[in-house]
Symmetry: D2
Subunit: 199 residues, 4 copies
């Protein structure tokens, strides 16, 4: 059993992950993203633009007997994903080096798709997910660019997607500066999700 | 097994709970609060100022073989907690009608304390928790009033508490207004947490 | 001289305006919008989608010897604009009943354009402003819909516009609830601005 | 006449000020602070904890025939205030090197007090202002520390103060990162204000 994270809740502290120079989804946004993905044992989960693999690790821990496919185009990030999987004793992960949506072709059809990073390819990725997602499967998209937000809203608001929902979340973290305390702002993130219609 | 919520992740939609006129911790803040409580099977958990019991239900689901004590002084809210426990097939909950901290006296020592509502009694409640919390146990406080924020910071920043951490989280939810979409702001909440020192 | 607002600073309290059922730009967002418009005496200013005329009044007060053209397509709102101009003794305003961009055709070329409301016509309005704005003139756009945000970013980021800048501002206001104080969140607004290139 | 800032609106861009290593109230928060101070020609204005003098300069520009007293305890900051006054051709400012509240003793009674920085002395400063503020004068306090927030709320909510109002404002600024745009979050600030009762 995993000794690094022994809890049943998501929201692993950022500092427990190997990071390098790869951007990482921060603890609170990661927790809310995982929550919106409504994970359960036995699911097939795609983590697209997996980065450091922090979402991958959380998803793998919360879907035992499931399988997470972490798709990432940067070699350096792929190494980090592998290291983070080792660090959290996560064995139900396949790391896929490649560029989405092409790299998604040979994967089994997912119950959940998490798009943490899309490198400007979001419409293509979501179109691919629309085709491959299992009926009543969920897709969750993180966006920090306005263009990503509107691209996601456009696709997730139309057939075969339904139940479009979204939040903007802005977190500030308590810090000590000398004798004073203040809250340091983190950049706001949009978390968007939708369900594939049951045919 | 619970049929209402079959997922391993917290963040149950607000609409699935019975609510009445009792204020409820909203989905996103509830999810982050539960995540910061770092739940695990077998814990003793106090939910102080349990309100509708939404945090109680989430905690009970994520700590099977654990026990949640939901403490609430309003009779009307106690009924809601019981109804929500039935609704989610949660059986590891004891509802305690009474006013904290007095109502906490006869409860077994907790591994986790969640203070969702404190009715102006926060310093007394936290002093009581400081005495009764098991070593390395965690306390998580939700605050919407500035006075609650500073009261919590003062107590959680001193012995026997350590590892003070806190966030302010502000969530806005996507809504459709005619043909236009916008994000409706929800009030910001502070989530503060600390650990009891290992003696 | 105007007796209702005797100060040299913008940010007139919401409650001083006649409002009816017409949506109004709130005090803080209005103040920041006016500030970003960098007003000065003698300017020609278009307030497009003027609504209650709250931006019109503030602009008129801060540009004496200037002229504000308040363009609004709803008859009911036009009445409010006139009433608010009377209330603040503002005489350098022309109210134009009509739909932008058509209603802008006969107006003198502006030094400043403020687009508070665009009714889905933003690209057309901004294209028109691009043609008519005086060299080194400024345009300021308020957006609450994601689609408005990205439409504004697309146009204001390209020729003949330069110096694109933007903020998202989220304000929460202190309220008293019984003995407790809290901050009630208002919806976030994007304020975008750009300058027309000097030819 | 001042050639650096020729507009009638506050909200001078941060980059136009000399800054050094002294923390500066950012453009948007500065604009809203100045707006809440409701300035007018001829006022006596105290800027307590003046820092770089950015609030001092804005106040001086908006209160011609008025007088701004910029009180600051750090020699390095005092030099910056003087430089910024020169830069904006502002001549109605007296810079006072010293620690508030002691340094306020010999100043003429103010119509407006702006407390941008209080170095932990806020209760003493506000008690002094309560005594010296002219009837119906206004005080505006910026706070980034929770302790400052609650200290200000406590004093400004009681006699001789009335009309307590406050906001939390959180601004994010558009930035370009390669081909992508995003909004970079700035730390939230509380702006609190109150009026001295007319005796």
């Amino acid at each position: 059993m995993n000794k690094t994270w022994t809890y049943s809740t998501p929201g692993i502290p950022d500092g427990l992950f190997a990071r390098g120079a790869v951007p990482m989804t921060k603890e609170e946004v990661r927790a809310l993203t995982i929550c919106r993905a409504r994970l359960a044992p036995g699911q097939v989960i795609w983590d697209v633009g997996a980065g450091t693999g922090s979402l991958t690790v959380e998803a793998a821990l919360l879907s035992p007997q499931g399988k997470v496919f972490a798709v990432e185009q940067k070699e350096e990030a792929v190494q980090l994903i592998r290291e983070n999987c080792r660090r959290f004793d996560v064995t139900n992960v396949s790391v896929v080096l490649g560029r989405a949506p092409e790299a998604l072709c040979d994967l089994p059809s997912p119950d959940r798709v998490i798009v943490g990073g899309s490198g400007g390819e979001l419409p293509g990725i979501l179109a691919f997910c629309a085709a491959r997602l299992n009926p009543s499967g969920l897709v969750v998209v993180n966006a920090i660019a306005p263009a990503t937000l509107t691209a996601a809203l456009a696709v997730l608001g139309t057939h075969p997607f339904t139940e479009l929902a979204g939040i903007q979340v802005q977190v500030s973290r308590l810090e000590q500066l000398g004798k004073e305390q203040f809250f340091r702002a983190q950049n706001a993130v949009w978390i968007l999700c939708a369900q594939k219609e049951v045919e």
